[in-house]
Symmetry: D2
Subunit: 280 residues, 4 copies
């Protein structure tokens, strides 16, 4: 499946500032980039930061003086999705997990899984299949947490969301991740370009590790999972924030698009994936 | 119904210390004290603190020097309970609430109702009858929070319990109160002598205001509600703590008993009160 | 000293709603009201709620239907302040505290003194005089917490402010109260009309109990303490909020004034009160 | 300098369980292992987990059935320390930081630097030299936080410690790390064998990145920094916990030793390093 994704970000910057952006799409065995363009107005050099484990393609921009900086990104991407029957998505065993996967069992800034052990065990600890377990987590989040734009901020964590019961995609993902880890299911944050998200924005969901695969879950249920174009993954939003700023940087505006280039695209939403997990 | 209640508390005290104890049973129109005795070994004067609103009968003890202080309390009490059909237990209207009841709508140290608005509304906001609503809260607490001795401490609040899902009677009561207040149902903490509590201890539950009455609820479901002998009520455990200490006071031991003196006593547990509320 | 205070509040209200307002000035032995007027447009009855302990004069307003409600309050007040030399402001002893003062030692929703024991003891536990101790608390707050409008909200507590280091008068007062209580100095929240506050608004500071008196402290250092006109006191902001709303009430605008009517008024700021405490 | 380190851990295990241990010393260009032995009684295979970035040498043990497992580790290690004059320890610039260092600027589970920005800026934001800045942080922690064994648990974070003011080496390190990150100084957790720690235990301190080096700091001031033998580093204690357990594992006992093998060892404590930073 082919996608054209674009994003335009505008920041008002004073003084010397450094921006770390996660807007470039990931290169991987299942996601190929055909064309890609990053354009800055006024022109400044953007440096791609090497990633030891290929989970992000962060870009660093160093800006001097006072300016309005416009960043335009565009990419033509193809990805292959893999559908896996839920019978094959067995619970991972810590005894055999690859060492690169183990860190995704640990608590992180926004996913304090250590504080949610009982909640996770009580609500989801008796489901037989791993895929059904994480789907149950998503259904519970969607049912119990209201999607309210602007209701949370960059300090909001899964621990807060359990009680406050409102948030945006980022908060839904954090809670999903925390509950998975509390059940000894490795889980990681996924930042992506989503198709038909209203209002358009970068999207966040999460991946859980089962049957040897990272399976994608979207507790917001808002977008087709087979049209997600990966930007990066990390322990939580801190690792793959759209923008992390050091200095004096103020957000001005943002536009995000994701256009499906194939005519025969058939969207697969959360509801369509009852029996099969999807891997990007 | 007549009860004989006793409690024996032992503290190891160094230096000048002040103890505020809530172990004496309340005097009220529905609770009469026939005999009462407070005995301190070694002898020190105990001063009953006047209560402006008759919700507690706190006792202040000032101890000098190093000693082991034993406090023995005993009372023979009669109380009249009132059973009210749930049809009469209508939702209170803030427009008409007596001004003495209004404070029990506000958040307090251990009952941060302001942080639980959505949770309360989502789970319990659509039940028609006030009594059914608070029973639903109790059932939810009993189902979702495990009763685990020693799992919490004096800093644990309702906000913590929502996520940690374990606690003792005090935590169960705090969560019940916070959820009621979040739904605009006045609620207050009740400290009492309970019958057949294992292991024996002071007990805590809560009262919610509906149909003009303070109706008792016990989310632990552990004890008969018609055998509770009231010690006092307050906004939360801070107001009616068994012991509040200033100085150097260490707990050594405690014994609590509550003996029903009537032969024809028929216990009414949570499960027996589906259609009638009980007022002490 | 005579003052004319006014406030005009405007709310946009939908449906049946109840408002509890704390804008009327307190009547007490040291504060006399000469003229007072509360005017509602459109006209609705406002009911003064009796206060058992004379710490507030809350007003309840029940509004039906959709409307913009304007509330105008005006009062001509005289108060006598009392200046007490700091040598007389000794540490209170829990052993002798009046029972009506004891509750102000307990933790409350926004003043979790139980969590600040070590911080309070380490920073302020070795000062000999009670008045100097609370002044040191105020100086520390002023130095360590930035006054930033809009930086906090109705959920922010003293516990948060210790780490976040920003807030408004309400947060400054809560932190002052929590630190006092952690040192076994009773403290309570004071809502008032302040003179020359910029921008004009209701003001909050706190009172600490020492030498048998409630002495006023303003950790913001922004206003003269001898021109504060009392609205009410409570355990924290929850008890004397300017407005507590049940229903659908939205804030539209507010104007607050406090005019000194005496020509020979000499303002006493925090800095002028190094050796004398002020009681209202 | 040569060291012989040993540790003996004993766990009582029921059922199938997985243990991830961080007790083996790190191999690096500055730390050489001459002899090393890991012995399990009863015998089970221990698997060393590959580390992508060489910051840990975790070991995974999978135990079946009920048993008491004794783990004995012993190593003869030589490390070269590097002393760097503080003039060369300049503030890092985010614009130039190696991409592998950038993650150590982000908040993590126990080091919520995003919540401590103002506190860090107010207290330590005006010191000219980077090394002096982090020393000032350590001095502040040592002065304001009491070292109290057993006062905290595995859920305690830097955010809690700011207010609670007590903790163990782990908490001291977390707070140091969080404050550094809040000042845009990369910082990471260091787990190690320390010399002359009483009572003997694994030790934790932290490294801050300045002048292109990871410089070691010990806010507890308890041990000589030139006798620390590195076990591993990570974003916080979650990454290099001595033991992380999945299953039914209970701690029984622990013994830790670190013996200096060189006769001319001269200990360098915090107080001896006013002008020079130490790198392991």
């Amino acid at each position: 499946m082919k996608f054209q994704v674009t994003s335009t970000l505008q920041y008002s910057i004073k003084d010397l500032s450094t921006l770390i952006l996660n807007i470039s799409v990931l290169k991987s065995s299942s996601q190929t980039i055909f064309e890609e363009n990053l354009h800055l107005e006024p022109f400044i050099l953007a440096e791609e930061l090497p990633s030891l484990d290929s989970t992000t393609r962060s870009v660093r921009i160093v800006s001097e003086g006072k300016k309005t900086l416009t960043i335009k990104y565009k990419a033509l991407v193809e990805h292959e999705i893999k559908l896996i029957e839920k019978q094959q998505l067995s619970f991972p065993s810590v005894a055999d997990l690859p060492s690169a996967v183990l860190p995704y069992l640990l608590p992180s800034r926004y996913c304090q899984s250590d504080k949610l052990l009982r909640l996770a065990q009580d609500k989801f600890g008796r489901i037989e299949n791993a895929y059904d377990t994480v789907r149950a987590i998503c259904i519970w989040i969607d049912k119990n947490v209201d999607y309210v734009s602007g209701s949370t901020d960059s300090e909001t964590s899964a621990f807060d969301t359990v009680t406050q019961r409102q948030g945006v995609c980022r908060d839904f993902a954090h809670l999903g991740i925390a509950l998975c880890r509390a059940l000894t299911i490795p889980a990681r944050y996924l930042s992506c370009y989503a198709y038909k998200l209203h209002p358009p924005d970068f999207h966040a969901c999460f991946e859980a590790y089962m049957g040897g695969n990272w399976v994608v879950f979207d507790p917001t249920k808002l977008v087709p999972l087979n049209a997600l174009v990966k930007i990066g993954t990390g322990k939580d939003a801190a690792d793959v924030a759209v923008g992390t700023f050091y200095g004096n940087v103020n957000f001005k505006s943002m536009e995000v698009t994701n256009q499906v280039m194939d005519k025969d695209f058939r969207p697969l939403y959360f509801k369509d994936l009852e029996n099969e997990g999807i891997c990007l």
